[in-house]
Protein backbone atom coordinates (compact mmCIF):
# COMPACT_ATOMS: atom_id res chain seq x y z
CA UNK A 1 0.00 0.00 0.00
CA UNK A 2 2.83 2.36 0.89
CA UNK A 3 4.34 1.76 -2.55
CA UNK A 4 1.13 2.90 -4.19
CA UNK A 5 0.98 6.07 -2.09
CA UNK A 6 4.59 6.79 -2.97
CA UNK A 7 3.91 6.29 -6.67
CA UNK A 8 0.89 8.59 -6.48
CA UNK A 9 2.93 11.31 -4.76
CA UNK A 10 5.69 10.93 -7.37
CA UNK A 11 3.08 11.32 -10.13
CA UNK A 12 1.74 14.49 -8.49
CA UNK A 13 5.24 15.94 -8.01
CA UNK A 14 6.32 15.09 -11.55
CA UNK A 15 3.12 16.63 -12.94
CA UNK A 16 3.75 19.78 -10.95
CA UNK A 17 7.38 19.99 -12.11
CA UNK A 18 6.31 19.37 -15.70
CA UNK A 19 3.70 22.12 -15.40
CA UNK A 20 6.17 24.57 -13.87
CA UNK A 21 8.54 23.80 -16.75
CA UNK A 22 5.79 24.53 -19.29
CA UNK A 23 4.92 27.83 -17.58
CA UNK A 24 8.54 28.96 -17.16
CA UNK A 25 9.31 28.15 -20.79
CA UNK A 26 6.32 30.19 -22.00
CA UNK A 27 4.71 27.25 -23.79
CA UNK A 28 1.46 27.92 -21.96
CA UNK A 29 0.96 31.06 -24.03
CA UNK A 30 -0.51 30.09 -27.44
CA UNK A 31 1.01 33.28 -28.90
CA UNK A 32 4.48 31.79 -28.36
CA UNK A 33 3.49 28.60 -30.18
CA UNK A 34 2.07 30.63 -33.05
CA UNK A 35 5.28 32.67 -33.23
CA UNK A 36 7.31 29.47 -33.65
CA UNK A 37 4.97 27.82 -36.14
CA UNK A 38 4.52 30.94 -38.27
CA UNK A 39 7.62 30.64 -40.40
CA UNK A 40 6.58 33.51 -42.63
CA UNK A 41 5.90 35.95 -39.82
CA UNK A 42 8.09 37.24 -37.00
CA UNK A 43 9.65 33.86 -36.26
CA UNK A 44 10.61 32.96 -32.71
CA UNK A 45 12.92 30.00 -31.98
CA UNK A 46 11.71 29.62 -28.36
CA UNK A 47 9.87 26.32 -28.83
CA UNK A 48 13.01 24.79 -30.31
CA UNK A 49 14.86 25.94 -27.18
CA UNK A 50 12.30 24.22 -24.96
CA UNK A 51 12.57 20.98 -26.90
CA UNK A 52 16.35 21.20 -26.87
CA UNK A 53 16.51 21.76 -23.10
CA UNK A 54 14.05 18.94 -22.41
CA UNK A 55 15.67 16.43 -24.76
CA UNK A 56 19.20 17.27 -23.58
CA UNK A 57 18.26 16.49 -19.97
CA UNK A 58 16.06 13.47 -20.67
CA UNK A 59 18.34 11.84 -23.26
CA UNK A 60 21.41 12.17 -20.99
CA UNK A 61 19.41 10.81 -18.07
CA UNK A 62 18.31 7.78 -20.10
CA UNK A 63 21.84 7.28 -21.35
CA UNK A 64 23.38 7.21 -17.88
CA UNK A 65 20.52 5.19 -16.40
CA UNK A 66 21.02 2.53 -19.06
CA UNK A 67 24.74 2.46 -18.30
CA UNK A 68 24.24 2.08 -14.59
CA UNK A 69 21.56 -0.54 -14.98
CA UNK A 70 22.09 -2.44 -18.26
CA UNK A 71 18.83 -4.34 -17.78
CA UNK A 72 17.10 -1.01 -18.29
CA UNK A 73 18.36 -0.68 -21.81
CA UNK A 74 15.56 -2.87 -23.07
CA UNK A 75 13.07 -0.40 -21.70
CA UNK A 76 14.57 2.41 -23.75
CA UNK A 77 12.40 1.38 -26.64
CA UNK A 78 8.81 0.99 -25.48
CA UNK A 79 6.54 -1.78 -26.67
CA UNK A 80 4.83 0.18 -29.41
CA UNK A 81 7.69 -0.84 -31.68
CA UNK A 82 8.80 0.63 -34.95
CA UNK A 83 5.70 0.42 -37.06
CA UNK A 84 5.28 3.40 -39.36
CA UNK A 85 1.73 3.33 -40.66
CA UNK A 86 -1.19 5.48 -41.68
CA UNK A 87 -2.35 5.81 -38.09
CA UNK A 88 0.98 7.30 -37.05
CA UNK A 89 1.23 9.68 -40.00
CA UNK A 90 -2.45 10.60 -40.20
CA UNK A 91 -2.77 10.99 -36.44
CA UNK A 92 0.30 13.21 -36.24
CA UNK A 93 -0.99 15.34 -39.15
CA UNK A 94 -4.43 15.77 -37.53
CA UNK A 95 -2.78 16.69 -34.25
CA UNK A 96 -0.61 19.23 -36.09
CA UNK A 97 -3.66 20.91 -37.62
CA UNK A 98 -5.39 21.21 -34.23
CA UNK A 99 -2.19 22.46 -32.62
CA UNK A 100 -1.67 25.02 -35.38
CA UNK A 101 -5.23 26.34 -35.12
CA UNK A 102 -5.25 26.68 -31.34
CA UNK A 103 -1.64 26.91 -30.17
CA UNK A 104 -2.44 24.25 -27.57
CA UNK A 105 -1.04 20.75 -27.29
CA UNK A 106 -2.26 18.48 -24.47
CA UNK A 107 0.19 19.60 -21.72
CA UNK A 108 -0.32 23.36 -21.95
CA UNK A 109 -4.07 22.78 -22.34
CA UNK A 110 -4.26 21.03 -18.95
CA UNK A 111 -2.13 23.79 -17.40
CA UNK A 112 -4.45 26.41 -18.93
CA UNK A 113 -7.35 24.56 -17.31
CA UNK A 114 -5.82 25.63 -13.99
CA UNK A 115 -6.40 29.25 -15.01
CA UNK A 116 -10.12 28.54 -15.08
CA UNK A 117 -10.58 30.07 -18.55
CA UNK A 118 -13.73 28.86 -20.31
CA UNK A 119 -11.80 28.34 -23.55
CA UNK A 120 -9.44 25.93 -21.81
CA UNK A 121 -12.36 23.94 -20.39
CA UNK A 122 -13.92 23.68 -23.85
CA UNK A 123 -10.59 22.68 -25.42
CA UNK A 124 -9.82 19.95 -22.87
CA UNK A 125 -13.37 18.59 -23.03
CA UNK A 126 -13.12 18.44 -26.84
CA UNK A 127 -9.75 16.72 -26.52
CA UNK A 128 -11.31 14.07 -24.28
CA UNK A 129 -14.10 13.54 -26.81
CA UNK A 130 -11.48 13.18 -29.56
CA UNK A 131 -9.62 10.52 -27.58
CA UNK A 132 -12.82 8.58 -26.92
CA UNK A 133 -13.90 8.90 -30.58
CA UNK A 134 -10.57 7.48 -31.69
CA UNK A 135 -10.83 4.67 -29.20
CA UNK A 136 -14.41 3.99 -30.31
CA UNK A 137 -13.36 3.48 -33.90
CA UNK A 138 -11.13 0.54 -32.99
CA UNK A 139 -12.86 -1.41 -30.30
CA UNK A 140 -11.49 -4.66 -31.67
CA UNK A 141 -7.85 -3.83 -30.99
CA UNK A 142 -8.51 -3.22 -27.26
CA UNK A 143 -5.34 -1.22 -26.88
CA UNK A 144 -6.38 0.21 -23.55
CA UNK A 145 -6.79 -3.26 -22.13
CA UNK A 146 -3.10 -4.07 -22.23
CA UNK A 147 -1.48 -4.56 -18.83
CA UNK A 148 0.57 -1.62 -17.64
CA UNK A 149 4.19 -1.81 -16.58
CA UNK A 150 4.70 -2.69 -12.92
CA UNK A 151 5.54 0.12 -10.54
CA UNK A 152 9.18 0.34 -9.67
Amino acid sequence: MAAVVKALLIALACGLLFGVGLCVSGMTDPANIGAFLDVSGKWSPNLAGVMLGAIAVHASWLHFAARREPADEKRLLPGNGKRIDGALLGGAALFGVGWGVSGYCPGPAIVALGSGALGAVVFVAAMAVGILLCEGTRWTTKRSGKPSAPLR
Binding site: F18, G21, V50, M51, H58, A59, G98, G100, C134, S144
Partner: protein
Protein backbone atom coordinates in the same frame (compact mmCIF):
# COMPACT_ATOMS: atom_id res chain seq x y z
CA UNK B 1 15.46 32.16 -24.82
CA UNK B 2 17.19 31.33 -21.52
CA UNK B 3 13.82 30.79 -19.84
CA UNK B 4 12.73 28.57 -22.75
CA UNK B 5 15.75 26.29 -22.36
CA UNK B 6 15.54 26.33 -18.55
CA UNK B 7 11.82 25.50 -18.62
CA UNK B 8 12.56 22.77 -21.12
CA UNK B 9 15.20 21.34 -18.79
CA UNK B 10 12.60 21.19 -15.98
CA UNK B 11 10.28 19.29 -18.33
CA UNK B 12 13.13 16.89 -19.16
CA UNK B 13 13.85 16.42 -15.45
CA UNK B 14 10.19 15.66 -14.77
CA UNK B 15 10.08 13.09 -17.58
CA UNK B 16 13.31 11.54 -16.25
CA UNK B 17 12.12 11.26 -12.65
CA UNK B 18 8.75 9.88 -13.73
CA UNK B 19 10.47 7.26 -15.86
CA UNK B 20 13.05 6.28 -13.26
CA UNK B 21 10.82 6.35 -10.18
CA UNK B 22 7.47 5.22 -11.59
CA UNK B 23 8.62 3.42 -14.74
CA UNK B 24 6.31 5.39 -16.98
CA UNK B 25 6.58 7.71 -19.95
CA UNK B 26 5.54 11.30 -19.29
CA UNK B 27 3.45 11.78 -22.42
CA UNK B 28 0.53 14.03 -21.59
CA UNK B 29 -1.85 12.76 -24.29
CA UNK B 30 -1.20 9.20 -23.08
CA UNK B 31 -1.75 10.24 -19.48
CA UNK B 32 -5.02 11.97 -20.36
CA UNK B 33 -6.11 8.87 -22.32
CA UNK B 34 -5.28 6.77 -19.25
CA UNK B 35 -7.52 8.90 -17.06
CA UNK B 36 -10.36 8.27 -19.51
CA UNK B 37 -9.70 4.61 -20.36
CA UNK B 38 -7.77 2.96 -17.51
CA UNK B 39 -9.19 1.74 -14.22
CA UNK B 40 -8.22 1.62 -10.59
CA UNK B 41 -4.71 2.48 -9.50
CA UNK B 42 -3.48 3.27 -13.03
CA UNK B 43 -6.21 5.85 -13.48
CA UNK B 44 -5.39 7.50 -10.13
CA UNK B 45 -1.71 7.66 -11.01
CA UNK B 46 -2.50 9.51 -14.22
CA UNK B 47 -5.09 11.72 -12.59
CA UNK B 48 -2.54 12.91 -10.03
CA UNK B 49 -0.01 13.75 -12.76
CA UNK B 50 -2.66 15.88 -14.47
CA UNK B 51 -3.56 17.43 -11.11
CA UNK B 52 0.09 18.53 -10.82
CA UNK B 53 -0.11 20.20 -14.25
CA UNK B 54 -3.39 21.82 -13.27
CA UNK B 55 -1.92 23.10 -9.97
CA UNK B 56 1.03 24.65 -11.83
CA UNK B 57 -1.48 26.54 -13.98
CA UNK B 58 -3.41 27.70 -10.92
CA UNK B 59 -0.25 29.10 -9.34
CA UNK B 60 1.31 30.64 -12.46
CA UNK B 61 -1.86 32.37 -13.62
CA UNK B 62 -1.48 34.61 -10.53
CA UNK B 63 2.03 35.65 -11.47
CA UNK B 64 2.59 37.49 -14.71
CA UNK B 65 1.15 36.57 -18.06
CA UNK B 66 2.78 33.23 -18.79
CA UNK B 67 -0.47 31.30 -18.68
CA UNK B 68 -2.61 33.09 -21.25
CA UNK B 69 -6.29 32.45 -21.75
CA UNK B 70 -7.24 31.32 -25.26
CA UNK B 71 -8.17 34.23 -27.51
CA UNK B 72 -9.86 32.06 -30.09
CA UNK B 73 -13.66 31.81 -30.39
CA UNK B 74 -15.05 28.70 -28.71
CA UNK B 75 -16.10 26.85 -31.89
CA UNK B 76 -12.67 26.69 -33.56
CA UNK B 77 -11.20 25.98 -30.14
CA UNK B 78 -13.49 22.97 -29.73
CA UNK B 79 -12.73 21.70 -33.24
CA UNK B 80 -9.00 22.06 -32.60
CA UNK B 81 -9.34 20.19 -29.30
CA UNK B 82 -11.18 17.39 -31.06
CA UNK B 83 -8.37 17.08 -33.65
CA UNK B 84 -5.66 17.19 -30.97
CA UNK B 85 -7.37 14.47 -28.91
CA UNK B 86 -8.16 12.23 -31.89
CA UNK B 87 -4.80 12.76 -33.61
CA UNK B 88 -2.60 12.21 -30.56
CA UNK B 89 -4.52 9.07 -29.65
CA UNK B 90 -4.24 7.71 -33.18
CA UNK B 91 -0.52 8.43 -33.48
CA UNK B 92 0.22 7.47 -29.88
CA UNK B 93 1.76 10.68 -28.60
CA UNK B 94 1.97 14.45 -28.59
CA UNK B 95 4.67 17.08 -28.12
CA UNK B 96 5.73 15.46 -24.85
CA UNK B 97 5.29 11.76 -25.61
CA UNK B 98 6.71 11.77 -29.14
CA UNK B 99 8.59 15.07 -28.93
CA UNK B 100 10.41 14.97 -25.60
CA UNK B 101 10.31 11.32 -24.50
CA UNK B 102 10.31 9.64 -27.93
CA UNK B 103 13.08 11.72 -29.48
CA UNK B 104 15.18 11.33 -26.32
CA UNK B 105 15.09 7.55 -26.73
CA UNK B 106 15.45 7.77 -30.52
CA UNK B 107 12.13 6.03 -31.16
CA UNK B 108 11.68 5.53 -34.89
CA UNK B 109 7.97 6.27 -34.64
CA UNK B 110 8.65 9.55 -32.87
CA UNK B 111 11.32 10.52 -35.39
CA UNK B 112 8.57 10.25 -38.01
CA UNK B 113 5.71 11.70 -35.95
CA UNK B 114 7.44 14.89 -34.77
CA UNK B 115 8.36 16.31 -38.21
CA UNK B 116 4.89 15.28 -39.42
CA UNK B 117 2.98 17.24 -36.79
CA UNK B 118 5.43 20.16 -36.92
CA UNK B 119 5.02 20.55 -40.68
CA UNK B 120 1.24 20.06 -40.49
CA UNK B 121 1.05 22.72 -37.77
CA UNK B 122 3.25 25.18 -39.67
CA UNK B 123 1.15 24.75 -42.84
CA UNK B 124 -2.02 25.22 -40.78
CA UNK B 125 -0.74 28.44 -39.20
CA UNK B 126 0.31 29.73 -42.62
CA UNK B 127 -3.10 28.99 -44.13
CA UNK B 128 -5.07 30.36 -41.19
CA UNK B 129 -3.05 33.55 -40.82
CA UNK B 130 -1.85 34.43 -44.29
CA UNK B 131 -4.25 32.79 -46.74
CA UNK B 132 -7.58 32.83 -44.94
CA UNK B 133 -6.52 35.77 -42.71
CA UNK B 134 -8.86 34.42 -40.05
CA UNK B 135 -7.10 35.60 -36.93
CA UNK B 136 -4.11 37.83 -36.72
CA UNK B 137 -0.93 36.91 -34.88
CA UNK B 138 -1.04 38.27 -31.37
Amino acid sequence: MFLAIFGGALIGLSASLYWSLNGRVAGISGILSGVLLNHGQERWLKLLFLLGLFAAGMVFVRFGDRVAAPTLPLLPLALAGLLVGFGTRLSGGCTSGHGVCGLSRLSVRSLVAVPTFMVAAAITVFVVRHVLKLWLPS
